[in-house]
Amino acid sequence: MAKEIAGKIKLQCPAGQATPAPPVGPALGAHGVNIAQFVKEFNDRTREQMGLIIPVEINVYKDRTFDFILKSPPAAVLLKKAAGVEKGAGEVGTVIVGSVTRAQVEEIAQMKMKDLNARNLDSASRIIEGTARAAGIEVVD
């Protein structure tokens, strides 16, 4: 079909557990998008990642239909996985819960560069490092 895009919506929703409540409802409802269908399809496609927050980019077309793509997990999730910890610091930057190497930071920066809108790898690495510190994950050489 000759799809004409009316807008793009970026959300992060809990895998397998999205509901019509905000943020989904107000974001999609403003475009007249069928919220029940989005919720059902998102939950079907993310059910196996239950427990994670999944970034999703939704294309809304001029005829108010939609499709969506799932993006890479948030940097904080990738950092916790790399550090081998279940949870980050409960409050921003209060306790150290684990560590990652600079090489791991760079690897995550590579993966996330486009999603972060970073100008280059250095800029992306700086953001990933900052995200690590905020989550209580030390960056070691």
Binding site: E4, N34, A36, A76, R126, G130
Partner: protein, 321 residues
């Protein structure tokens, strides 16, 4: 409140932070810890002011049962702690605002913008307004649909031109076999069957489209209307040629697949190809002509064109899958 009364919708509070674009994801992480339903990025609505250059909105939502002064102070403190924790001075002094949203039943409120609409005598009726079927005029053909996750709700000019041409041509009384290339929601194939085609086959490379199309056929009690996932390779020799070929596709796809479209059209059969913006008309018409497809009429709706025509005899025979 008695059990018979409907509970009012939950009230929500929006937390909004204007943050540097590269840091939006981290700010979203922080807000998600306080608002586990999820986070939205970007302008709250198309009518809202765009954010200043280099910044974007991060928004999260909490039910009013958790929204109190202590909760707001915690959210502010977490966002304020980001600059020091990350070592990023640009995160200092981020503006955090709270806005109480009017109560709304989001599961159904999106439907407000949908009304039944008409394309010629074909009446497209959203599934939650079945009462409209009883209000049709003699000769109207209802098509009940649930708009959603596959393109083709009938509202777009390219789809409307196809539906309009289809019913004009089918009014002659014949009952052709119809092929719908790039069938999306299935609206053209199901519409063709409702308007008198004896059989319709649709296919689309979008792996999510087929269930929507099959649901549309079921809703409208339409048989002899099948859908497949894939490109032209999902058609076989056994499918043969079709009396009518419909394609509501981008012009680059019309150009690339002109030969395959022609090969599937029976000699003397007719086609409707929509989805061509006017600036791509010339190369598209050249590609169609080269494939043996003679355009007899070009229709326009806004910047979109639809080509109607017939196959000329020198077109190739059907190719196998």
């Amino acid at each position: 409140m008695s059990g018979a009364e409907r509970l009012p919708p939950v009230r929500w509070t929006e937390v909004r932070v204007l943050a540097p674009v590269e840091w939006c994801e981290l700010v979203g992480e922080v807000l998600a810890a306080a608002c586990p339903n999820g986070v939205a990025f970007g302008r709250p609505s198309l009518a809202a002011e765009p954010p200043p250059d280099g910044l974007d909105y991060v928004r999260a939502f909490a039910a009013d049962s958790v929204d109190d002064a202590a909760w707001r102070a915690r959210v502010r403190a977490e966002v304020a702690a980001l600059a020091e924790a990350t070592g990023a001075p640009e995160l200092a002094g981020l503006d955090v605002s709270f806005r109480e949203l009017p109560p709304e039943d989001y599961a159904t409120s999106w439907r407000k913008v949908w009304r039944p609409f008409r394309v010629g005598r074909l009446c497209l009726i959203p599934g939650w307004t079945p009462e409209w079927v009883a209000r049709l005029r003699p000769g109207d053909v209802p098509l009940v649909f649930e708009p959603g996750g596959a393109f083709g709700s009938g509202r777009h000019p390219t789809t409307r031109m196809c539906l309009r041409a289809l019913q004009e041509r089918l009014a002659a009384g014949d009952a052709p076999r119809v092929l719908d290339a790039g069938s999306g929601s299935g609206i053209l194939a199901v519409g063709a069957r409702r308007l008198g085609a004896r059989e319709a086959l649709g296919f689309d490379v979008d792996p999510h489209a087929r269930p929507y199309a099959e649901d549309l056929a079921r809703r409208n009690d339409v048989s002899s209307c099948a859908f497949r996932t894939g490109g032209f390779e999902c058609l076989s020799d056994a499918d043969g040629t079709f009396d009518v070929v419909l394609a509501n596709l981008y012009s680059d796809l019309l150009q690339r697949h002109a030969g395959e479209l022609a090969a599937r059209l029976a000699p003397g059969g007719w086609f409707v190809f929509s989805g061509c913006p006017d600036r791509h008309a010339e190369p598209t018409l050249r590609a169609l002509a080269a494939a043996g497809l003679r355009v007899a009429e070009t229709r326009r709706r806004g910047r979109w064109l639809a080509f109607l025509g017939r196959r000329v005899e020198r077109a190739a025979s059907p190719r196998s899958g």
